[in-house]
Amino acid sequence: MHVLMLDIGYGLVTAAILALSAVAFTLEYAVSRVANLAHGEILTVGAYTAFFVQRSTGNVLLAALGAAAAGAVAGYATNLFLIERFARRPILVTFIATLGLSLMLQNLLTAFFGASSRAYTINQGAPQQYGPFQFTQAELLVIASAVTIAALLFLLLRRTKFGKSVRAVAENRDLARASGIHARRVIAQTWLVAGFVAGFAGFVLAENVGAFSPSFGNGFLLITITATVAGGLGNPYGTLLGAVLVGLVLELAGAYTSSSYELAFAFAILVILLLVRPNGLLVRQSRPVAA
């Protein structure tokens, strides 16, 4: 039982990181209707930036901010140079294009920084007992920052004018335009925000895992997509729930088998979800008819 609770604790940490990455992904999907396969690279860019900032300044906070800023730029640029350029094309075409972008970014990083993993260590602090769980100080900060960012994001979406425009554009872009919303600007700003969160997620992931590499964001992508699909693509609240569920399930499954099969479990969950509940766990399904 004790071990189970520990595992649940680790699961919560994974879920926190996953939540950050997945919420960003779902925001991108919500406004652009595209699953961004280059999303993992925003995390990677964040991790690299954090590493170099930390190396030159020694300041973890600056590193985190640097990661978020770099992510914001990456997100904004992705939308500007890719997503918007394919705005009038079928969604599948844009999807393939993001795959091409993912390949480009991963290999640009490889070309300039090498393919091997780099260590990224910050002082984690000793694990302390918190009820049935055990967390290090760093892990607590991860969970706290995830909760804070999620809360801020929801305030943004619910209470601000910007948030309302985002929801309008996500619902129906043409209708939003007709009501006077500058859709392209809103979309660009959403990608900025999503990139900010994803870049930060990259920093958090790197320091939690202890290492990063050009493909490390891409490796996290499948799990991110699983969490997003579980919550319903484009639904930020559902995505949070999905992240918690997937994070916990993965941690527990990995504890009882080998953690190298984490990817296989994530994939199995994803396939089952896509077959049974493609609109997310929260939505009541109208029974689809397979042609």
């Binding site: 394919f86 999807f95 795959l99 091409g100 290999n107 490889t110 070309a111 099969y261 397979a290 042609a291």
Partner: protein, 348 residues
């Protein structure tokens, strides 16, 4: 010269893969991101079926010392069985992006499992030992073998090109394109979209497996660093650049992408301490190529040609069949004669 033989051989093998992908994606419209997994699986299987039992600490399954051709045949069969399972799950009512994600996930899992579960194919170190298959049997010496292999690959490519070309121009090829263009309309006219796609998917897997068998002969060894799920994008680039859906275009595209890129990256300077620079740059260019072509020339360099009907336009019916015109001749303002044909298969 020897260098060019190797390049051309590998290009032929990639062209066979691309033709298989063309059936699944180019003609049928299924964005299969896991395609390269079938190539890899077949390559592994061909090697472990041809070599003997593993000597510790090397581990792998099978090891039956079978003749090369038999090994390839078995590899193809096993690969198609795996493809059937994956296809039955992934093609049943999964919309386009979800299908792509499922296949991507499947091949990623395969990649991880092959690396981690060493008893399968010796994990990260991979399997080796396939030397000049059929060389001894045909009395070809070591120096001449590479020419033989080139000839073999080119011959297989020719056969595959002819067969897929016929398929493309056949009623089945027409049906695949209709499925690509509008699935619901196809269902509304009585065809099972799932069954049609599954057939195309399995044919693609067969071609991938054949290419894998040849790949095994070419490389002699195989390990995870020789393939990654992302290699599939090189194939997509080839199909996309050349011209999706048409055979000549696909072969041309593969040649352009593959040979062009190999030459390009070969002439790049070696950067000390960064051995991955050139291959990484090649991947960057492939990604860029995909994006540029999707944006500016999605039909490829050689666009798909429509079937052109050269038959007689005159409406005179042949004398020996009784006809019943459907009466919709009202649209052309002609008085109705009735007409029924056998070929439509429908006797109302």
């Amino acid at each position: 010269m020897i260098y060019w033989v190797a390049i051309l051989t590998e290009a032929c093998i990639f062209a066979i893969m691309a033709l298989g992908l063309n059936v699944v994606w180019g003609m049928s419209g299924d964005f299969d991101l896991g395609y390269y997994g079938y190539v890899a699986l077949s390559t592994y299987l061909t090697i472990v079926l041809t070599v003997g039992q593993p000597l510790a600490p090397v581990k792998y399954i099978l090891g039956n010392n079978l003749p090369y051709v038999v090994a390839v045949a078995i590899a193809v069969i096993i690969t198609v069985l795996v493809a059937t399972v994956v296809g039955m799950v992934a093609l049943r009512g999964l919309r386009a992006i979800y299908f792509a994600l499922t296949t991507l996930g499947a091949v990623s899992v395969l990649y991880v499992v092959v690396q981690t579960y060493t008893p399968l194919f010796n994990g990260f170190n991979g399997v080796a030992g396939l030397v000049d298959p059929m060389g001894n049997a045909l009395g070809i010496d070591y120096n001449q073998y590479r020419y033989f292999l080139l000839g073999l690959c080119a011959a297989v490519l020719l056969v595959v090109a002819v067969l897929t070309s016929r398929l493309s121009r056949s009623p089945f090829g027409r049906l695949l394109r209709a499925v690509r263009d509008d699935e619901d309309a196809v269902a509304a006219f009585g065809r099972s979209v799932y069954k049609t796609k599954l057939k195309a998917y399995l044919l693609g897997a067969v071609l991938a497996a054949i290419a894998g068998g040849l790949f095994a002969a070419f490389l002699g060894a195989f390990n995870p660093s020789a393939w990654a799920p992302q290699e599939v994008l090189t194939l997509y680039a080839g199909v996309l650049v050349g011209g999706r859906g048409n055979i000549k275009g696909v072969i041309a595209g593969v040649l352009v992408v593959y040979i062009g890129f190999v030459e390009l990256t070969r002439s790049l300077p070696e950067i000390a301490g960064h051995p991955e620079f050139a291959p990484a740059l090649r991947q960057v260019l492939i990604g860029l190529l995909i994006i540029l072509f999707l944006r500016f020339r999605p039909q490829g360099l050689i666009p798909e040609r429509l079937s052109v009907d050269k038959g007689p336009s005159a409406g005179a019916g042949s004398a020996d069949t009784s006809y019943r015109r459907t009466g919709l001749a009202a649209l052309a303002g002609k008085a109705g004669r009735l007409r029924l044909t056998k070929a439509s298969g429908g006797v109302r």
